[in-house]
Symmetry: C2
């Protein structure tokens, strides 16, 4: 029976969710699919392209059509979609960070962020910088949340450091940071609209 | 000869800089210091506390006295100090992110950020959230920069994805993001000062 690309991808995501990014190797994936490692390379020339494909799959729904709303509301929806998508898979933020660093993932999520930024009135180069700022913030915060969940489940946190004792939720923390970012963008727009033409 | 804590720390940092975080194991460290692994545990009960100590050492200079300037200028100096400190060691951002997630590092850098935030006029809870936002952004962006440097030095990036071909420097990107963050904080201050008392 022929091994389809979608099967490889689904098998890889299953290993990721069950064992984590550190245990996702081409060899292990081949074993779990009952094929020789060579069969995987027909679909993915190396592990990096496989990881990028998982990232694309994971973030695919982020770019779904947005409601027709002001740029700031759209930006907030997008940011929450990205965070939720990363949290939905074990080590999701670490994986996306690595794929993004390799510039291999399709990265429609970033393109959508840039689009909302230019719609808001930012020049393209600033919209690109702003999209990266937001992405790096989301990755940094989500990686912290996921590391803490993993450490806690392995008993690697002291009792007082456990997420169970956090006085505020990751979501509340995230909403504050996202609000700061949106206010920062807004202040740039006010600046340029009040600049003498 | 007695093994001092400072020697263990220096040995660990040497391995980190030469081989990276993935190769920094207690066994390897013991071998490089010419001692039995047990000798290390006398100073550091486990690897996590060792990593936290390296993080403290790495970020120690961040909290050095700041010039007497407005809060926004002080925040910018602090943010640059943190980024520079992380960039000074291989995998510095990944290491700091893990130690921060474990809540084991002393984290004077975060405390200094919170202090500047409250000096600016933010309520303590907001200053804490704002400090986390900035830290997560710095960690996310610096991790991207360091991953890309590592991948490139291993020939793991395609030529067009190489940092050599980046049209803007990491520093320019960072200064834009930092500026957005500072503007976001400033807008919060304006809001609360114009709020009816």
């Amino acid at each position: 029976m022929q091994l389809r690309r979608a099967d490889v991808l689904a098998g890889a995501i299953a290993i990721l969710d069950e064992y984590g990014l550190g245990d996702l190797t081409m060899r292990r994936l081949a074993t779990s699919l009952g094929v020789q490692p060579g069969a995987l390379y027909w679909h993915f020339p190396n592990k990096q392209t496989l990881l990028a494909a998982i990232t694309d799959e994971m973030l695919g729904a982020v770019s779904a059509p947005l409601v027709d709303a002001q740029w700031d509301a759209r930006l907030e929806v997008l940011a929450h979609r990205i965070r939720d998508a990363l949290l939905a898979h074990r080590d999701g933020a670490e994986l996306a960070s690595a794929s993004y660093a390799a510039r291999l993932a399709t990265n429609d999520a970033r393109a959508t962020l840039v689009e909302v930024g230019t719609d808001a009135g930012l020049p393209t180069d600033e919209a690109e910088f702003a999209a990266d700022t937001l992405l790096f913030y989301i990755l940094g915060q989500t990686m912290d949340e996921q590391s803490r969940m993993q450490m806690d489940s392995h008993g690697a946190l002291t009792e007082e450091a456990s997420p169970l004792y956090d006085t505020t939720s990751g979501t509340a923390r995230f909403e504050y940071g996202l609000g700061l970012f949106v206010d920062g963008v807004r202040s740039r727009l006010t600046e340029s609209s009040s600049r003498p033409g």
